[in-house]
Subunit: 175 residues, 2 copies
DNA sequence: ATAGAAAGGTTATAGAGTAACATAGCAGGA
DNA sequence: TCCTGCTATGTTACTCTATAACCTTTCTAT
């Protein structure tokens, strides 16, 4: 990560990770479900940064970390568990997964995704959820899950491209 | 389709198709782009009903219709064209594609998707788009595309399951 | 006519996800 | 304690989704 993408710029990310892992541990204990080594390790890898990671990327990371190579079902099962517990979200736009910063409160999946640096910022907008439910109800539709994926440029990347020149669409390499 | 799923219930779908194809033709002429036989045929197949269709399903349909088998790149190129022209939308949740009823006006991709019958209902809610843009701006994020995919039960299916009993999750077969 | 661009054909492969079955590890009860 | 059953993980093979790379055909404009 060359120019430490945006939300990442000004925070101690180690703190994000330890907080997320501790929250996950407590939450699993409270629910009586088992946060095994593998599941914890996958969660930890997902939290390495604020960019969604694909299942196969995670497999490679696990292989590097463990010297053992895990097969797809292994990582998908861990991901399924984490999804069920609300510890991660799936970004359909990218076929990728990202850590949830507030797993203890039930909420919908609303993300801003930067096409330049790849970061995904989770929104916390209950009013937006409510408005969407309202619109759906007007159509007689009974909402179960919401997935909002907004693509564009994050504050950092939009700022950078504007300084660079007037261009805004070349996604200057990032990883 | 046994119990003609919802929005499909009470409309002349042949009309949907002819309207969509005519609109597509005019739009392409106006833009000076070529709506070739293949592209038109793919669009027509997508409009067969209001359910999103996968690329490989389309390939099979093309094979049946044409006696010739087309390879994946062929159908994906047609889909790319139709996406670029706004004639169809991609439903990320399903890896599938669906016709756009109003391709001439630029708009975002907002859908209600029934998990029981598979129908996808496109919303037309500029205020919702605006609210999303507003929320993004508050985070310094510059929006380029929006994808809202709401999953749940459509009016028809919610009604049916409630009458059937108290169950609501068996997605009683539909095709 | 003919060059260049655009569209489509073909082969091969990458990427994402799951089915089915085998094994290991952890629980609680006799 | 041992047994039993459940949960988690390992393994193999496969399906589904999508694209790379290269070639041929078909338009279009001069």
């Amino acid at each position: 990560m060359e120019h430490t993408p945006l939300a990442c710029s000004h925070h101690d990310h180690g703190h994000c990770i330890t907080d997320a892992l501790e929250a996950a541990r407590q939450l699993c204990v409270g629910r009586g479900v088992r946060l095994t080594d593998l599941r914890l390790q996958v969660l930890e890898l997902i939290w390495q940064n604020h960019k969604p990671l694909g299942a196969y990327t995670l497999m490679e990371m696990l292989a590097k970390a463990n010297t053992r190579r895990v097969a797809p079902p292994t990582v998908y099962r861990a991901l399924d568990f984490l999804l069920e517990q609300g510890l991660i979200h799936r970004i359909n736009l990218l076929n990728a997964f990202i850590g949830c910063p507030s797993p203890s409160t039930k909420h919908q999946s609303h993300f801003l995704i930067c096409r330049a640096c790849g970061i995904a910022i989770e929104l916390n907008q209950p009013e937006l959820s409510q408005q969407i439910i309202g619109v759906a109800q007007d159509a007689g539709f009974q909402v179960e899950t919401q997935s909002l994926e907004v693509s564009g440029l994050c504050a950092n990347c939009a700022g950078n491209t504007e300084h660079d020149g007037h261009e805004h669409g070349h996604g200057h390499g990032h990883e």
